[in-house]
Symmetry: C2
Amino acid sequence: MLKISDFSKLAQIPVATLRFYDQIDLLKPAQVDRFTDYRYYTVDQLPRLNRIVALKDMGFSLEQVSTLLREDLSADAMLMLLARRQEDAERELQESRARLSKVAARIREIAEEGKPAAYDIVTKSVAAQWIVSTREVVADFRAIEQSCFAMHAALHQQIEKLGLKMLGVPAPRLLNLYHNTEYTETDLDLEAAVVIARPASTLDLTKSQASMPALTVRELAGESLVASGIHTGDLRDMPQLAKALLHWVGTHDYDVAGPLREMHLSAAVDDLPTGETRLVEVQLPVSPRRVA
Amino acid sequence: MLKISDFSKLAQIPVATLRFYDQIDLLKPAQVDRFTDYRYYTVDQLPRLNRIVALKDMGFSLEQVSTLLREDLSADAMLMLLARRQEDAERELQESRARLSKVAARIREIAEEGKPAAYDIVTKSVAAQWIVSTREVVADFRAIEQSCFAMHAALHQQIEKLGLKMLGVPAPRLLNLYHNTEYTETDLDLEAAVVIARPASTLDLTKSQASMPALTVRELAGESLVASGIHTGDLRDMPQLAKALLHWVGTHDYDVAGPLREMHLSAAVDDLPTGETRLVEVQLPVSPRRVA
DNA sequence: TTGCTCCTCACGTCACGTGAGGTGGC
DNA sequence: TTGCTCCTCACGTCACGTGAGGTGGC
């Protein structure tokens, strides 16, 4: 018979933990003095405690440990729980890796640039959304703003004609897709779009068929994983964010999985004069790179 | 101005989380209606929220995030925090790996043996302790029990003669060290020991000098990391636990770092008849293997 | 009598999630 | 009037750690 502190030293488990395991019926003392409520343990209880520790070290919760310690647990049920734990542990390992690589990348950035990163890049998912869009190759990135302006002006006209409903918070949402597969500053394959409510199925596009440029109405697929950063300030500095995103995917074991998306978060493009402060979220669809 | 649900959708952060960040002063709404207490946000607040998410994704606590978001934080202080985070993240990564390897090993065991493992092996540390011991090479493991008995009997005599105080919970602690560097069942280099209180500095060993076998009194160094399992039942089955421990270090990326220790947890060796149920903890000092 | 060990609550931790119960605007 | 959105508590989560306040054995 061992007092709690002796058992605690023998097992190298804190007294508070032993009391807690008693409370949740995970490991009851072999005997409890009915007058003093002192707990008494025996060395025979060490194997069970050892098993508890071993299962805990695999990452099982105490409730799962309780289940796993039940005598009548079948080998199949045990394997089931182990298999699930393995999956979770693998996911947790990936998360640990991702966290560390984010910290390391940030440290490298500061070391290389001498200052904290200009952009905070996070991963998220984006839902599918209906858009009306027009696509055009723009010769040079310096012409982007004008082209963009013109394309969106055209889109707005057509939207009105077709009776479509623009969506978005806070303002109707404008977005641009860059279909170039590599970073470039010339021959930009730009698709300018406006988010709309899902149109009635009998949409008549013939009305706009004759117009220039050609219009498409479609559901833009969602992306389960995008790397995203927010640009604020002069739109002409935005390529830096695009570069930062491309650099980010390289240093975090991702691959580019789709066209870059520019989401305009502040007022509509044609509401603000050139060079005014704006907020633009830039998203780059990615997929985790298979580690060899 | 965005209502909380709009801001929530835009940022993909739950409403409850935004309220919580308001409460802990991490991200206050740009404006709060003084009559309805409605929170109103602006898109300008997205970059800050984005930064919060980015830092959280590195594993910083919200309190650390608060610190990191303070305008007056120097680049040095930032680097300090990042460096500490990196260390912690590296440790967490190791822990994730260890957890996963324990789960995977357990699954393999069941798959290979068709039944759950007989022993639960955990890692722990052991403190230094003073021992009195005698050492002998035993020709065959079948002779261990008798040799052991004889050695401990001799030890007890000498302890009494020298006036040393035996220590241990619940009974005076007996332990055996196996100095063979590889697993073997013959020529066992056995050191039988008894844990004692630190002796007075002026211990006179000459009294026992003439006796056979030779006696040593020394402080057995602690081990920062041992793999440990508990054997219960017939002592003659104990080599299985020793094998299990050796197998365990191989499958969990450790190296053997010292002699195997047998700690007798139940009554003294000479109190129990041969073949009686006993509890023995077997410890194998290990060191993490450098991963290439 | 003084330490020492044991006891039982109760509260804190961390980052929210989840009701309960109530109000304001269309 | 009915939903819908917003609000503020309050409590739960997980595995303990840490007092506060009190008792029993030497």
